[in-house]
Symmetry: C2
Subunit: 320 residues, 2 copies
C-alpha cells in the first residue's frame, strides 16, 4: 500500500471522567494536570511538537462518583444535541457537551483538535481496547499497533463502531480523529493499580507515537484485527416486572473476546437453569456484564472479527 | 463446655438491598419473595418451624441502583437515630430505618425477630464473611461453622465488630441476634453468577441449620477464627485538594486476609512510588479497596485474628 501523508498532530486532548465513576481516567488526568502546574494545556519547550489538553469531562459526576448526573454525557455529542439551544431547563450533561465542543471542537470544523483520546473503564474483563467510530485517517490503527507491541501486561483489541460522524454520540467524535481507550476489569468507583498502570502506559505510548510522527518518522503499514458490533443482547427479564431473571453464565463471565458458539452457555437463571446461545453465527462477546449497561438493557455485545490492512503513514513533507 | 439451651428461632428476616447497588442480595430476596407468591412472610406447612420475612431494605436506592439516596441506611440503626422524631425534613433513610425497626424490631424488645441476616456485596476479594456486632447467643458461630463445612467454592471468615448494641448502626442489630453476610468480589451494580450462587448457598444452609436446631438437634461446640477490627486506614491524599494520590499496591490488591507485615507494600502512588506498611504489628487486611469506602476515607481495614471457643447448643427442652 502506498504511504499516506498527513498534517502533524499538533493539538491532542486526553479526557478522563467522561463517566464520573470510572476512576482510572479521573486520576490519570489529574496527574497530567499536576505536571502542568495546573494549566489545562501543556506547552512544551522548543522541541515539543504537540500540545496536550487535559480535560476532566464531567466534573460534577466525578465529584459525586456517579456515571452522570442527568444524562449519560457520552451520548450527548450528536450534531442534534450539540446544536440544541441551551436554556435553564437544559440537562447538565447537554450543557457540558456544548462546553466541551467549544473547547475541543467545534465538531467537524477545521478548528477541532487533531485527536481526542477519551479514557474509560469497564467492569468487564476486556483488557485494553480502542473504540473508534471511523478509521478517520489511519492514525487509530497505527497508534494501536504501537501500544500492542509495547504493552504486555494485558490483551489489546480494536473495536470499530462505524456510522456517520454527525450521529456519533461520544466525546471522541468531536476531534478530527479520536478513540475511546477502555480498560478493565475495574469496578466503578475503584482505582486498581494494575488497570491504572496499563492506561498510563497507553497514554504515554500514544504521545510518544505522536511525537515521533510529527518529527517525520515513517511508520510501516500492517494489519489489525477489528471487532465490529453485530448486536447487543439483554438479560432475560420477567415480562411483568421487567426485573432480570438471570445473569451471565459462569462459563461466559470474564471471557470477553472468546468466541461464543451456537449452544454455548449464555445466561444462568437465579433458579439455576442454563440458557444457551441460539444464534447461528459464532460471534465474539464483549462488554460482558458491564455494570453501566444494566439500565440500558444490555447484558453483552456480540461482534464479528475481521482483519483490516492499513497503509504506511508519515507526516506531510515540509510539515514536520 | 456445657451445652447452652435456647428458645427456638421462629421468626427470621433475610434482608437484601440495604445498599441498593449490591445486587446479589437484591435478586436473592426477589427470588425468595417469588416463592412466597408475593407474601412478605413465608408460612410453611405444619412441619415448618420457622417463618421467614424477606425484606428489600432500601427500595428507592435499589430502583436507582445506588448505595443510598441521602444517607447510608446501614448507619441509621443506632438507638439515637431510631428514636429521632420524623418530620418532613427527615432524611429518607432515617424514615426507612424507623419503618424497618417497626417491622423487624423494635430493637432490643421481646417483639424483635429472632435473627436478622442482612445480605451485602463488596468489591474486595473477601469471599463469604459473617460480620457480627455481638456473639449474642452463640447462634452466629454455629451457623457460620455449618456453612464453612458445606461451602467449598470460596473461603469464609468471621468478623466481629463489638461495641454496645445501642450504638450498633447496622440493620442486623435490630434482631435479637443477627449478622451481615458479605460476599465478594463483585462490582457494585453487577450480579455475578459465582457470587450470587455462594450467597444463595449461604442463605439456604442457614435456614437448614435453623430448622434442625428448632427440631431439637444438639450441635457440638467448637472453635472459630475471629477477625476483630483494629483500625481503618485511609489512602494517601493531597493535603490541599484531599484527592487521593495513591491506590492499593498490586501486591496487596485482592489479597484480603493475607497477613500484612511491617515493611510490606501497602500503596502505590500514581507516580509509581511504593509506600510500605509501617505498623509494628502484623495484621490482617480486609475490605481492601472497597468502592463504597472511598467517600468514608477508608482504603482498608486492619484486623487481629484470635480463636474463639463456642459451646454446644440445643433448643430448650419442651420448646422444640
Amino acid at each position: 500500500m502506498e504511504t499516506v501523508t498527513m498534517l502533524p498532530l499538533t493539538r491532542v486532548a486526553v479526557c478522563g471522567g467522561t463517566h464520573g465513576n470510572e476512576l482510572s481516567g479521573v486520576y490519570l488526568v489529574r496527574e497530567l494536570q499536576k505536571n502542568d502546574g495546573g494549566k489545562a494545556e501543556e506547552q512544551g519547550g522548543a522541541a515539543e511538537t504537540v500540545s496536550v489538553l487535559k480535560v476532566l469531562s464531567n466534573p460534577r459526576a466525578v465529584q459525586q462518583c456517579r456515571r452522570y448526573m442527568e444524562k449519560d454525557l457520552n451520548r450527548c455529542f450528536t450534531n442534534a444535541l450539540l446544536s440544541t439551544p441551551a436554556g435553564k431547563e437544559t440537562l447538565y450533561e447537554i450543557v457540558r457537551a456544548q462546553e466541551l465542543n467549544a473547547l475541543l471542537g467545534p465538531k467537524g470544523s477545521p478548528e477541532a483538535v487533531d485527536l481526542v483520546c477519551d479514557l474509560h473503564n469497564t467492569t468487564s474483563n476486556m483488557g485494553l481496547c480502542f473504540i473508534s467510530y471511523s478509521q478517520c485517517n489511519w492514525i487509530g490503527p497505527h497508534i494501536f499497533r504501537h501500544l500492542q507491541r509495547e504493552i504486555s501486561s494485558m490483551p489489546m483489541r480494536y473495536i470499530h463502531l462505524g456510522g456517520p460522524s454527525s450521529e456519533a454520540y461520544s466525546l471522541e467524535s468531536v476531534g478530527k480523529c479520536g478513540f475511546g481507550m477502555e480498560v478493565g476489569p475495574q469496578p466503578h468507583g475503584v482505582v486498581r493499580a494494575d488497570i491504572f498502570s496499563a492506561m498510563w502506559d497507553g497514554v504515554r505510548l500514544m504521545l510518544d507515537w505522536i511525537r515521533r510522527f510529527n518529527a517525520g518518522t515513517t511508520f510501516e503499514g500492517g494489519e489489525v484485527e477489528v471487532y465490529t458490533m453485530v448486536k447487543k443482547m439483554d438479560f432475560p427479564r420477567d415480562p411483568e416486572t421487567e426485573s432480570i431473571t438471570a445473569t451471565i453464565h459462569p462459563e461466559l463471565q470474564d471471557r470477553d473476546f472468546r468466541l461464543l458458539c451456537p449452544g454455548d452457555p449464555l445466561f444462568l437463571s437465579f433458579t439455576g437453569e442454563t440458557q444457551r446461545y441460539e444464534g447461528e453465527e459464532p460471534l465474539y462477546p464483549l462488554f460482558v456484564n458491564e455494570a453501566a449497561y444494566y439500565e440500558k438493557g444490555i447484558a453483552l455485545w456480540l461482534a464479528r472479527m475481521t482483519k483490516m490492512a492499513f497503509p504506511p503513514i508519515r507526516v506531510k513533507a515540509g510539515a514536520e
